[in-house]
Symmetry: C2
Subunit: 153 residues, 2 copies
């Protein structure tokens, strides 16, 4: 485990960090997402959770998904909307969002600057599930959620 020890200090430079790679959001080719990057800030083998930074360009969004593991989110920059369960919420810098187990969620950058957020997650976690066509059709029964999914603020 000693080889995985992170450096003690990593400087930040406009939402990038020394020694932290900016990587694709995810590898799942089935998931629908747009204009989003991922940086792993802490994956400390001594801790149960990891901390990642995601950045969504204006108009972009994370995938609509659910899973058994939870997300603990702090908005680090910008403004946007998120869907958690069947609720659409406006989120701004430093707001906290907790995504409970098996709850559909998506983040969208609906402002004019990027939406950047920290996301704490268990190191050991299950694979996200994507909605079926039937589940998507169910969301579309709600005009508020339909607007959200179309990117209408």
């Amino acid at each position: 485990m000693a080889s995985a020890e992170p450096p003690v200090h990593r400087k930040a430079r406009h939402y990038r960090w020394d020694g932290v790679a900016v990587v694709p959001y995810k590898e799942d080719a089935q998931a629908l997402f747009k204009s989003i990057t991922r940086q792993v800030l802490f994956a400390d083998p001594h801790q149960g959770s990891e901390l990642r930074y995601f950045e969504v360009a204006p108009g972009g969004f994370s995938s609509l998904e659910r899973h058994e593991h939870t997300h603990n989110v702090l908005i680090l920059r910008g403004f946007g909307h998120c869907l958690v369960g069947r609720e659409v919420r406006e989120v701004a810098t430093h707001d906290l969002i907790a995504v409970p187990p098996m709850t559909w969620h998506q983040f969208r950058a609906t402002g004019e600057e990027p939406l950047g957020f920290l996301c704490m997650v268990n190191a050991a976690r299950d694979k996200p599930q994507l909605p079926t066509l039937e589940e998507l059709a169910e969301f579309e029964q709600s005009p508020r959620i339909t607007d959200f999914l179309k990117g209408v603020r």
Copy 2:
């Protein structure tokens, strides 16, 4: 565990959050610290780690301590200095600091505004150890650390 489920969305208002109490930094009457508060942002029973926000007023400092558990820190606001091991480092907004196991550390707000930082920590963790007089004397062999401990930038 369901009763401990956090609210989905908590708004931020200038480094305070809806429903999050601002509490004393710590209860240990032996520890030397100054002008620092604590807010627990996430203590999700589904996750291995918690996320806390500490804020140190100008001139204030956290206790000088070490423990087996690690700290994963992201500076949320302001500027300061930290001691990690025998290194004094200047830290600024969004910098990352990883405190390894059993490593002496302290944070000081050496700028003109508060130093605020997020600290991720295992939910199950050991109690911090404070330095003995002999250990303090050893730090004072280093002029850089002596200046740091006196609050000299």
